[in-house]
């Protein structure tokens, strides 16, 4: 059910990836994604994929969890992959009327599939190994230069933290209410689309009521502790760029240098 979705779920642990600074993890993830798309021949793609897999291994999280997070986007990956087979030019492998499979098309398909898969994989590394609080703290720090342009960075980060924090709570609540209504004979598994939507009303109304109740309680609790925005606030956990982050940076520089080298040495397979 809803709980089986692992995309963007934090898995506590003590691996070296878990211990990294959230800011450097975010930046390195972005750089990694950039290089996944920069790799334009099979050697470079192999190199960046293998180095992503090494990072995955270092998180010490069961590979099954990563596969589960891929399951959500499996359709998207397959769809774009298959669509790409029929585009492109070059040597023709197979032809039927106006449909033809070419060398370029197959290459495109392989690249698109691996690129999306690798991108999801490294993104999962970030969300699996970083607690939502650290993640939003990191984003807040990274966005803080925007304060110069009067963007309310702290408020945005606080909203994100609260939203992330309450996703599992609301999911659990939805589960409970669904069970309670099922116990009163609510039928949510059969009937047409319209009937099913109508059957959700007894679940959604109590869910909204409880969300507002929680929001009220939370606002009250925050006011009681004199919360008044980010000005002058200090942090309990101070983020530090440590030895692990330095090691990760060196690792990435080596990998990226390798990718650039491959791109120069080997001819580009896709444009």
């Amino acid at each position: 059910m809803v709980r089986d979705i692992t995309l963007g779920q934090y898995m506590p642990g003590k691996s070296i990836v878990h211990r990294m600074d959230a800011r450097s993890k975010i930046l390195m993830l972005l750089a990694m994604i950039g290089f996944i798309f920069a790799a334009d021949n099979y050697m470079a793609l192999l190199l960046i994929t293998l180095s992503s897999l090494l990072v995955v291994l270092l998180t010490r999280i069961s590979f099954m969890m990563y596969l589960k997070s891929m399951k959500v986007i499996l359709f998207l990956v397959l769809f774009t992959g298959i669509l790409n087979i029929f585009y492109g030019s070059g040597q023709v492998y197979w032809e039927w009327q106006f449909i033809k499979i070419t060398e370029g098309g197959v290459n495109n398909a392989v690249f698109v599939t691996i690129r999306i898969a690798a991108m999801v994989l490294v993104s999962s590394v970030l969300t699996f190994t970083t607690s939502p609080n650290d993640l939003t703290d990191g984003i807040e720090k990274l966005l803080s230069p925007l304060k110069l342009f009067h963007v309310k960075v702290h408020e945005i980060a606080m909203m994100m933290t609260i939203a992330l924090r309450f996703i599992p709570v609301l999911l659990e609540e939805a589960d409970k209410i669904m069970n309670a209504q099922k116990a009163r004979g609510a039928d949510m598994e059969s009937g047409g689309a319209l009937k099913r939507v109508r059957a959700m009303v007894p679940v959604l109304i109590p869910l909204f009521v409880s969300a507002f109740r929680r929001a009220n309680d939370l606002a009250m609790a925050m006011e009681c502790r004199c919360y008044n925005g980010g000005k002058g606030r200090t942090r309990m956990k101070i983020m530090k760029f440590g030895g692990v982050d330095l090691a990760a940076l060196i690792y990435l520089i080596v990998v990226f240098a390798g990718v650039i080298l491959c791109n120069i040495v080997f001819p580009a397979t896709v444009r």
């Binding site: 099954m64 409970k176 209410i177 309670a180 116990a183 009163r184 007894p202 109590p206 009521v209």
Partner: protein, 290 residues
């Protein structure tokens, strides 16, 4: 005849994932028709999981649940019919209210069951009567009621389906002592009038001791004991090992016995204890000078 029978029921949450946890292992027992069964256990002992098996909200990983001698999962598509026969009131049931008026909310269950307008009306008023909701309250929005009234409205919503078995999971949680006593006595009255089977889950010994015919004690996902209240509470030491508190008055009697006074420790109310101590004084009063 037994209404519900659990045959070697085992249940595992999140099978095949890293969150795998066995909530129930090899539980077997049966509930007799018309009895008031208390289910008690420490937090995480599996009592809530167990009762959710009885109306088919959870399916046993292995083992069977029999309702009137028939396996409820024999035809998975007909599981809804089981839910009308076994009414289930969850913890904090007031969180399920959703309709515009209390009346409409209580009639949600009966309507799903397919009752006619007249029959629904009769059942709704009957159920409201059992839980002490007045006529005016039925016309109000459920969100205008007080906490205790909301709880009653939600319980009425399950009673109105006219189930053969009524299961209540911690119905008194979060109520003040007066509200708790009132609600419990309403449940007892309902049980006496309807003469159907009631299962009451709680971790409060005091509540369960007074009103149950038999008590099922759960510990670590297993059936620890199943016996009459008196027999259960005479095993105070065992209960304490499972992290359960015996009623205060039973505790007093246990301490008396420890000091060498031969009282029966299976008493549940102050009145019983009074009689027990009197009779004990009567017998030893002559040999020992008190």
């Amino acid at each position: 005849m037994s209404v519900i029978t659990a045959e070697n029921v085992t249940f595992t949450y999140g099978k095949g994932t890293s969150f795998e946890r066995t909530a129930l292992s090899g539980v077997s027992f049966s509930v007799e028709e018309g009895e008031f069964l208390g289910v008690i256990g420490h937090t995480g002992s599996g009592k809530s999981t167990l009762v959710q098996m009885f109306n088919g909200l959870l399916r046993p990983t292995s083992g069977r649940i029999l309702l009137n001698g028939k396996d409820i999962w024999e035809q998975p598509k007909k599981i809804r019919e089981v839910r009308f026969k076994v009414g289930m009131v969850f913890q904090y049931p007031e969180h399920q209210l959703f309709e515009e008026t209390v009346y409409k909310d209580i009639s949600f269950g009966p309507k799903n069951k397919g009752m006619s307008e007249e029959e629904t009306d009769k059942k709704v008023r009957e159920a409201a009567g059992f839980v002490g909701l007045s006529e005016e309250l039925l016309k109000k929005s459920p969100f205008e009621l007080s906490g205790g009234e909301k709880r009653r409205a939600a319980i009425a919503g399950v009673i109105a389906m006219d189930p053969d078995v009524l299961i209540l999971d911690e119905p008194t949680a979060g109520l003040d002592p007066l509200g708790r006593d009132a609600l419990l006595s309403e449940i007892v009255t309902y049980h006496k009038v309807r003469k159907n089977t009631v299962l009451l889950v709680s971790h409060s010994m005091e509540d369960i001791a007074r009103i149950s015919d038999r008590i099922l004690v759960m510990n670590n996902g297993r059936k620890a004991m199943l016996d009459t209240s008196e027999n259960i509470f005479s095993q105070g030491a065992e209960l304490e090992k499972m992290g359960l508190r015996v009623p205060q008055i039973t505790k007093v009697m246990m301490l008396l016995k420890q000091r060498g006074i031969s009282v029966n420790t299976g008493v549940l109310t102050v009145e019983q204890a009074f009689q027990e101590i009197l009779s004990c004084l009567g017998c030893c009063g002559e040999t020992k000078k008190w």
